[in-house]
Amino acid sequence: MSGHGNMNLTLKVWKQKNKDTKGKFETYQAKGISPDMSFLEMFDVVNEQLISGNQEPIAFDHDCREGICGACSMYINGRPHGPKGGVTTCQLHMRSFKDGDTIVVEPWRSAAFPVIKDLAVDRSSFDRIISAGGFVSVNTGNSKDANNILINKDDADEAFNAAACIGCGACVAACKNSSAMLFVSAKVSQLALLPQGQIERYDRVLNMVKQMDEEGFGNCTNTGACEAECPKSISLENIARLNREYSAAKLMQDKVN
């Protein structure tokens, strides 16, 4: 296993039995790690060793392992998804570290993301925000011709950029306030910019913001940490748009709310 240029690392990993127990850091040695491995593969190697030594493996979330599902939440050396910008943990390679490094790995920390076990957190608060308004009305029946609704190219591009959000929660993890504004703003924007999203436009933003607040996320103070750490480079412009949509809904909606 120990090939040329392989590394030995010390891991300080958060271990927590379940959401009702207190956790603590455990130290592990990761030996013979190839620089070409992803961070998750490194954890796989460590877990194999733990299992064969009859020890509990480290629990962490993962699914696609190619940066599209957003499952692999890990706060690595003080940053969500580690030291590289624009990547998820599964896209982070061990060549970003040096032989002999100590790496501190923690779960996302937010009242709205309770720890399930070790590094795995419960992000269903995001799902509930989506259920509150992240949808559009469509007719059932035969599928429509593609592209029969004309959309301005700039709006389509902006909506597409916002739709790149994978719901990973790095924005919340990075934010000193645990604010979910970047996520919510991306989800509101992708629909507010398109003709299909107009029917629920005002209800959507009010309901999603309400749900966001109820879940216990903090208030945005525009530090910009979310944008800097977002693996999909979702722009802060979306947050400005969310604030605008919120004011517009408050002022324009023809009902008392």
Partner: protein, 230 residues
Amino acid sequence: MSNKTGLLTSSIGKKILMGITGLFLISFLLVHCFINALIFFNDGGETFNKGAEFMGTNWLIRTMEIVLFIGIFAHIFLALKLTLDNRKARPIGYQLVNGTANSTWYSRWMGLLGTLILMFLIIHLAHFWVQSRFTDNLAHTREHIVGNQITMFDRMSIVFSELWIVVLYCLSMVSLAYHLLHGFQSAFQSLGLNHKKYSPLIKTTGVAFSILIPLIFASMPLVMHFGIIK
């Protein structure tokens, strides 16, 4: 379905109020700085005292003074609420945080910078505002002096004759500068006033404002202490 969220209870509502009060305080700084800069006529405070008299007697300004106090209290109250709520949103903190990797230190320390400004405000109001509103020690201009009254300009020379007060004022202006460096552009973002073409202009104006205004303010105790303006 009810989606009732109030300005004071919803996160975005609070931010909108924060932005409005912040911008209002900024507009106050501009006027305050302009009036005080009249000392640079270096005419023994004659022009400045006239300016101060206008500010102290004009009914519109006096009304705005009340609005200003409401604005400051609202800003502070919301800041406190925002900061405390945000602390609750992360009950268990990280062991290791690399904040410099993704944000400026002053954007993360707005609460502390604001508190330093508040402490300064209390001292500053005690120095000048309390003297002019609640005592008979000050006359509007030299012509109006009764007994051993002095003018606002004289009061400035007395206050700024103490070196440690000059230092305190200058340091407080550094806090203000950093508060504004984040706050100016942040207020526009909070209000959703963002535009591909105008946002860069807002940001540049914000940086210029945040450096120039505190610099001009800080120069006042300095020039008076060292007798350049007398």
